[in-house]
Subunit: 357 residues, 2 copies
Amino acid sequence: MTDTLSRHAVIGILGGGQLGRMLSVAASRLGFRSHIFDPNPDAPATHVADAVTTASFSNETALTTFANSVDVITFEFENIPISALDVLGSYCAIKPDKEALRISQDRLIEKTFLQSLDLQTVEFVEVCDLLSLRNALDQIGTPAILKTRQFGYDGKGQICIVKEAEASHAFKSIDEAPAILEKFVEFDLEISVIAARGINGSVAAFDPGQNEHHDGILRKTIVPARVNVRQKTDAILISAKILNALDYVGVIGVEFFVTENGLLVNEIAPRVHNSGHWTQNACAVDQFEQHIRAISGWPLSDGRRHVDVVMENLIGHDIDQIPKIFEENNSAIHLYGKLEVKPGRKMGHVNRLIQVK
Amino acid sequence: MTDTLSRHAVIGILGGGQLGRMLSVAASRLGFRSHIFDPNPDAPATHVADAVTTASFSNETALTTFANSVDVITFEFENIPISALDVLGSYCAIKPDKEALRISQDRLIEKTFLQSLDLQTVEFVEVCDLLSLRNALDQIGTPAILKTRQFGYDGKGQICIVKEAEASHAFKSIDEAPAILEKFVEFDLEISVIAARGINGSVAAFDPGQNEHHDGILRKTIVPARVNVRQKTDAILISAKILNALDYVGVIGVEFFVTENGLLVNEIAPRVHNSGHWTQNACAVDQFEQHIRAISGWPLSDGRRHVDVVMENLIGHDIDQIPKIFEENNSAIHLYGKLEVKPGRKMGHVNRLIQVK
């Protein structure tokens, strides 16, 4: 394993949000130091990192200096400009590589990629103007969901179309951006798999979690998910197929709809994932450490879990429940150190352990 | 609870070793920031803290500035000069307060304090010169252990005396420092209790751990300890008695010898304790977070444990086992980011979970 980083290596992390914060802490547990790159000088990860660069992703000088000061670069969010990765990649390895980012940054490319692997997705049609939207509605029917190809997260950049007459209004609401129209799919439940692939091609997955969304934002992940052995195995095998096809290194989040007709892949996130936060308290090695292990060339954990768990996000003023949650003896609190409470803002999460002596 | 710190408070930590490092990470999980005070600019905790002051504990200006920049002060080791605490205490609350430090800094004062609570300790006699050492040996017999009153840890500052004729040599070996002579005690096993007391006087304890030492240094803690319910209850009640007597706020480590004649209190450590590291992976709330909860005025966890665990220290070149430990799927690795490997130096620890599905 020639690519294995030494114990004192520096992990460069693009993005200083809560995912970067928890990656940084996991890196420190393995003896590494972390260096955060984020335009916001008070981003959550800056509170726990060894070094911080505060600069824009278009600042080539800052990117170059950063890349030369770290031993490997990874990222905590997918909307990093490819131009920034091009600069960074000239000086330092980026893991996972930018191909996974390029695919997941665009819903059309992502879904086309998934279908090229013979994986089932929700039926979709490309939308580039109002005419193609009307044609798409004819083809797919209503209700349907119009989603921008790029920059969507937490329910942003998407709108439900119930009647064909809403087409024009809906297209305007997404600023007439390039989009796809997805058929509205009936599903039993949503699950996600947090999987990882090492430098040597080994793959490991945590148990699928069952996700509950509200207003497009993840609220809860319940583990184990209410799926049968066949569904669980399929979800993990599909995740492994995606990882191998991308020659991926690191942790990926794969979201599925569980339907009467099998599993549909909803989307992939080439990074640690909110629906994997439960691993922090239910596994010896959590998703954050698993990612650091992968990108630093160390062996993956097999992802085993020693307790059942429900992860609940604390969104906006959910944070006001903290005094009550402190009274719960089976609950592990994780706050992100964000000063300002805003509606829809992820302020923290709590992992409630279920099987306790 | 008027003393409860807000979510964005800054926790000042005296000492930047591995205990300060893990306290700092626990503070961040609760949304706090940490500020480390340590003379060593590359101390382990500095890698994960939001702010760092690099200065000597005799630097009054640095102490004053530090105290004015944090919301509460705590410490990770007991040998902090009382003069430094006097300066700091004029500007900011110190928890636990310096009385606990004063007692635990001196074995004679500590043991006298424990006896004043009607607790059993090993038989001991004060030693101030060679004559009093010879008298002590007459009184206690051999084998016996000569221990400096101050600055002893990890087996340092102590020597075993097998024959009376060794008295002079032994006294020289501890630089003729003020000392105590302890009777050599036969015991079945050593256990420790990690207990905590909140600002409101509530007390909670983790399960006793069974400790294995080698060359005076803790090697392993096994949980649960091989004690009966009576012994376990006694150990926890004794710990609570000590906490209450000190009007203590924070986590304390209490070491016991389990003997035929009951529990003897060996020593107390007014801080998080190496033998409590197992809590990181076996409890929803670990000793580090428990300490931060206590000093910040938030409720304590009841200390419940959801899995059995063995903690093993990685001392000196034990760190070379890390590649093998990475292959163990039930093992949680915790490295301290120390660059130089030295014999006897604590480089990290591993928590091996025992009851896994």
